[in-house]
Each structure stands twice: as structure tokens, then as C-alpha cells.
Subunit: 193 residues, 2 copies
């Protein structure tokens, strides 16, 4: 395979990139942005070599303990469980959460071979049992698998006497009720406060 | 900037990739496809170092003369002028053209500083003046700039006594007339044969 086809094949491994976009990307780089090529190559190499997982919360980190876990100024009473580093980043962007995190790096999906071991459930239980933790917020997604994951973790935490909560399901801020799906409205009604 | 943000910034340089997709790509690679990272890095490096332009037709090539120009079995009477290597690839995929190419690597756009020099007009005229060339097919796009480019090149070729033609504008194969825009129908009518 020649260098151009090899590049197109490699670009197709990126999520959401098919044959046509990969071709467009390769042509664009070669014709208009040659400098971006070594830059992206270096960034990929550095990321692959330096980014691992935080020993404490499992999020992406270049250091054994990530900057959030290393921040003593956070609220140690709260531990928020999310599925991915992207979910954690979304929480951080809201600016309204000051506790710590635990990142599952997935959600239970027995058919895909993802069980409690793969999401680090034992490490989560250990982390949640540490002194000072008063509430574990199960912020997994509101999909069937996310709900099942939250349910299993809530039971395990309860068995150890640890309180867990779930994010409120409700109407997205800024939406008109008319256009919100009925399941969401029903949940917002039952979770009303 | 940390390795993750550096990777996201580098991915954003790809055409059609914004902050959100770049983030999704970076997370996907780090979490699910680590092997793709050194592979893409190597492909980018190899492409950047090895892919240049064919001396004869200006398309992308790893050798001084590309495989099409080096193929003596092609029809030397025809020279097809396209804007980009992608356009050339599209022609090749049709399997219905057996002549040679000249790739402009752009189209005239005086406001962007792209003049006859930037599209290699002099080299094209020289190539078209070679023995055996009987017809130059101006296959630039049917946009204002593509049409202007074809017009300028046609005049220059004509001044040298070289015949040029333009692709037929018409109704795309497989379309229902009802859904084809009126300008296209008008052109298809005037270009009828
Ligand atoms: Zn951490
Ligand atoms: Zn060539």
C-alpha cells in the first residue's frame, strides 16, 4: 500500500470518519496544511506514551494521581461516579461540583463481556469506604445499561452501609415542555421537589 | 498544555473536526484504540516525508513521475485538467478515461492571491504543446471560480492553437428531473446532443 492509502486507512480508524472524510482529510493535509502532519504525529505519540490512568479515580492522567484527586481543597464528602473521562470533563465545566470522582471507563454490558471487574467496582467500593465519604453520586447515563450499572453499584454500596444518590431525571433547562419526550416529563414529575 | 489538550488541538486541525469531535476522537483512541495512535502517527510522518508532487502532472506522488504519467499505455492525445488530486481520483474511478492528467492544485482566485502562476498555467501550456496532444479537457468545477479558470486556460490554449473542451453540464445520472435545479436543466438543454 502506498503512503497516501496508508494514511487514509489510518484516518479511517478515527470515530466518525469514513472513506470519504478520510480522503478529504488526507488531501487537505497534503495540499494545504503540511505542518499539521508532524504536529499531529507528535501529539499522538506523546499522548500514547504519556497518558495513563489515575490510580485513585481511573480518569486519564499523565501523573500517577490526577490533578483533581491531588487537590486537597475539594469536598471529600462527595464522590461522583461517571462512565467516562468525557462525562467527568462535562461535570467540571458546569463549575457546580466540588467533590471527587471515580471513572468507570465503561458501564456494565454482560453481552460485551463488561462486568463489575472491568468497570473497577471493587476499587470503587474501597474508595467509597474511605473515611469522610458521605455520599456517592451515581452519575451513569440514563440508558438501560447505565441504569443497570447504577442499580448494581447502589446495591453493593448499600450492603456496605454507604449512601448513594442518582442524578435527577428531568426537563432539560431551556426546553419547551411541548417538545420534551413523554418519558422525560413523567420522570421529571415523579422526581419533583 | 497537557498531552490530552495538545492531542485535541492537533485533531482540530483536521478539516470538519471541531472541539467536540476532536475530544471524542481523543477519548476514543485513549480508551478503546491505543494501537491506532502510533499507527496514525507513523502514517502521517511517512506521508509528510514521502509524498511530493509528480513533476509532469503535479498530482501527489511518491516518485518524481507518478504512475499515470509513467504509463505508456495511456492515450497521449488526451490531457484532462482537474483542480485537485481528489478530482483526478474520481475520474480514475469511473474507468472511462484513458488519457493523461494535469492537476492545477487549486483554481484561479485573485482575491486569495491564487493566479495563473499558482495553478501552474505555464507548465500546463508547455505540457499541452507536446507532440501528440490533440485535446485538452478542462474539467475544472462548475463554480464561478472553476468556470473562470477554464475560461482563462481555454483562451491561452486557443492562442497557441490547441483545442480545448469542457465537460458537459447536465442532469446527474439517476436523478428525477423534478428534483434537479433549474440552472442544471437549462444547461442540460443547451448542451444537448
Ligand atoms: Zn484521579
Ligand atoms: Zn503525473
Amino acid at each position: 500500500m502506498n503512503a497516501l492509502d496508508t494514511l487514509i486507512e489510518a484516518l479511517k480508524r478515527l470515530p466518525g470518519v469514513g472513506q470519504k472524510s478520510a480522503q478529504r482529510m488526507a488531501y487537505h493535509l497534503l495540499q494545504h496544511d503540511r505542518l499539521a502532519m508532524p504536529r499531529l504525529a507528535a501529539a499522538l505519540t506523546a499522548a500514547g506514551e504519556n497518558i495513563g490512568h489515575c490510580e485513585r479515580c481511573h480518569t486519564f492522567s499523565e501523573t500517577p494521581i490526577c490533578s483533581v484527586c491531588a487537590d486537597a481543597g475539594r469536598d471529600g464528602r462527595l464522590l461522583c461516579v461517571v462512565e467516562t473521562p468525557a462525562d467527568q470533563a462535562a461535570f467540571e465545566r458546569t463549575g457546580s461540583y466540588r467533590g471527587y470522582y471515580f471513572v468507570l471507563l465503561g458501564r456494565l454490558s454482560p453481552l460485551d463481556g463488561i462486568g463489575t471487574r472491568q468497570i473497577g467496582a471493587a476499587e470503587l467500593l474501597e474508595r467509597a469506604s474511605e473515611d469522610g465519604v458521605e455520599e456517592v453520586i451515581l452519575a451513569t447515563s440514563f440508558t438501560a445499561e447505565g441504569e443497570a450499572t447504577a442499580h448494581v453499584l447502589a446495591e453493593a454500596l448499600k450492603a456496605r452501609g454507604i449512601k448513594s444518590t442518582r442524578l435527577a431525571r428531568g426537563v432539560p433547562v431551556g426546553s419547551e415542555l411541548e417538545y420534551v419526550d413523554l418519558g422525560t416529563i413523567a420522570h421529571a414529575l415523579s422526581d419533583r421537589r
